[in-house]
């Protein structure tokens, strides 16, 4: 569906969260089969397709697939996977989570997403980011010391391409464009575009400046500590006269029948991947107590449907977000059957429960501008 919702003005004094959207995210982690063997890359991609089809059947609003260039992950080109999902689904939005714009070419990113948008009848959404992993920089010949410059320039160009008119642009990180028209064009005239932000105020302000949607990547700590970013985004859009879209958040988790089952499924393989990545970033090995703390108070949505629903409702209320995406494969090499089950429980149990919980106690809307739009 074309993105026309922002045209409507709704000025609710309280947020009843009636237009809240729910998504699932995956990095394309290689799952295991029932015997514990790791699936091939091809089988992992097909598993993601099956999960997307189930999510669509269950009425989940969105799926986002990440771009990674590490052996644990099967997805290095999100749009190609999204194109497969587009053909197999009818309603679900199709996003990247995130597109590492800094090491890609904005022109190609636009062409690929405009094609996904066409294939899906307008369901594509780009989520641009700088990426928390750095593998793509040496792989594609970019210098990590240009991290800021690359994203600055490329988001500037991408923002121009979004107008779907001939572009003239000059920078230092790609060839200049002179009146270059890029195809295919979308039916709606504009790709729905988010910027994934991990916690840099500057990124929040830039997102507001370009009039793009803000997706907060909250992968650790208490979600409430991100409230200042939501506030900053709204204040910035107000000052800059751009649209304040509903803010999104994405966080990792896993749902199973009981809290214990979810934790026992999640923890062992999560520790493996977390420690492997942690070793690169100088984090100490994960302790069980730290994990339990994150499940209890932090940003791991691991547990029974009820536990996860309560935790999500709290975070959604605290941050006043309009979209919540669960990174359902964050547990690393999980059994494929557990992933599918988690998607099923998310769609059939968690989402309805979150809606109920939020309807029971609407939150005062933290409105800072008259032009707050849904």
């Amino acid at each position: 569906m074309p993105d026309t919702t922002h045209e409507q003005h709704k000025e609710h004094p309280v947020n009843d969260f009636s237009d809240l959207e729910f998504g699932i995210d995956t990095f394309g982690d290689l799952p295991r089969d029932d015997e514990g063997a790791l699936l091939s890359y091809g089988a992992a991609i097909r598993a993601t397709l099956a999960e997307a089809v189930l999510a669509d059947d269950l009425g989940i609003d969105a799926i986002a697939v990440g771009e990674h260039h590490r052996p644990e992950f099967a997805i290095s080109t999100p749009e190609t996977v999204l194109a497969g999902i587009a053909t197999a689904t009818e309603r679900i939005r199709l996003g990247s989570g995130v597109t590492v714009l800094s090491s890609d070419d904005p022109v190609r990113v636009f062409q690929r997403f405009a094609t996904v948008d066409a294939l899906s009848n307008g369901r594509a959404e780009v989520i641009l980011g700088r990426g928390s992993f750095t593998e793509s920089f040496p792989l594609f010949g970019y210098d990590l010391s240009d991290y800021e410059l690359l994203f600055d320039e490329k988001i500037d160009l991408f923002h121009k391409l979004l107008d779907e008119k001939p572009v003239t642009w000059e920078g230092t990180t790609r060839a200049a464009l002179h009146d270059a028209d890029v195809f295919p064009k979308t039916d709606s005239g504009r790709l729905r575009t988010w910027v994934g932000v991990g916690g840099t105020p500057q990124s929040v302000i830039r997102t507001a400046q370009y009039g793009l949607r803000l997706m907060l990547a909250i992968i650790g700590g208490a979600p409430a500590r991100f409230a200042p970013y939501v506030d900053l985004y709204r204040r910035a859009t107000e000052q800059l006269g751009t649209t304040a879209y509903p803010v999104g958040m994405h966080s990792p988790g896993l749902i199973a029948a009981t809290d214990d089952e979810a934790k026992e499924l999640f923890y062992p393989s999560y520790k493996v991947i977390r420690d492997r990545i942690g070793a690169l970033r100088g984090w100490p090995p994960l302790q069980r107590s730290e994990f339990e703390g994150d499940v209890e108070h932090g940003s791991l949505y691991v547990g029974s449907p009820e536990t996860v629903a309560r935790k999500m409702a709290d975070a959604i209320r605290a941050l006043d977000v309009g979209r919540f995406d669960l990174i359902y494969t964050a547990g690393g090499a999980l059994p494929a059957s557990a992933r599918l089950r988690a998607v099923e429980l998310y769609g059939t149990r968690v989402i309805p429960m979150v809606r109920e919980l939020l309807a029971e106690t609407p939150a005062p809307r933290a409105m800072t501008g008259a032009a707050f739009r849904r």
């Binding site: 091809g42 290095s76 080109t77 066409a118 294939l119 060839a175």
Partner: protein
Amino acid sequence: MRGSTMTAQDGRLEFGLNSFGDVATDHGRVMSDAESVRLLVEEAQLAETVGLDIFSVGEHYKEQSVDSATPVLLAAAAQATSTISLGTSVTVLSTQDPVRLYQEFATVDAISNGRTELVLGRASAIESFPLFGYDIAEYEELFEEKLDLFLRLMREDRVTWSGKHRTPLDGVRLHPRMPEGGIPAWIGIGGSPDSVVRAARHGLPLMMAIIGGRPERFAGHAELYLRALTTFGRPELPIAQHSLGLIADTDDDAKTIHWQYWRPVVTQVSRERGFYPPTAERYAEEVDTGALYVGSPETVARKIAGIVRANRLSRFDLKYDLTHLPRDVREQSIRLFGERVAPRVRELLGEDPGAWDLTGRETSQIVTGGKAVHA
């Protein structure tokens, strides 16, 4: 089993349907880019239904062309089909990054469960060079270097590589992985003998794009290719032809409608590339004895059977779309190509195998181990 090895194995001629992502019309209305994208997926499904062997798309970067993101289109077609092979014609390798290309096509191959292939070329259209910041003066060098890297990515597990046009790789292993040895990759040529020899040198099957003039003149290229394969100690590999055409109930119907849509396209290209604009007389000649496969099923089948023998083909691809060609005309042409032309060509060749049998028999020797195209 993959398309190109399947051909070789059972000696069966393959028929491909190729699109350049041309925007269509629907009852006189120009379809949007997005509608034209969706039409391609429907046509890939139709191609499978009518028994064609491969559906392929080109790569273009201009107005009224919607095939700028080829792997994305093919991934959608892959999910929408179950047996037909999916390919490109051609992938403009010179302005692509072989690393990204490997990742994209490994993904399409995963989604299609091993039905994906590529035709790599230097392209006759050059829009991609300024758009992606490449120097057209380096046309040849870019292709050679990128082909070398792409083949190494497909054929080796970990790749250490350095060249002039992209950052070096040091023991890089890409993912998702293609099957061992990679996916079938053809070399697309437009008439340059150098490119023919290059295909043979790399041990890659040959796709000859013949879009004008007497197609039999490419028999010399086929001959050169087969000799070059021997010289390089390569096994015999398949030869394919790509040409434009349209099939309708009668010759007159086909010619009338095809001329109407072909003429403006070729007039435009003639302006851009500085050759004479087409005339009705030249067009008629092109249909009768040239490279346009336009006519009734019987006419087109006879013409294809003739060129299959002359050019020693084991695959024939019909480029069926043209800017603003009505979607119902496209649909009818695809149906007739799959349901009437393909079986009739096979029948004609069965009656008198001639030179074609040679290619079929000899290629059948090289698929032991299922690795023909990467020998």
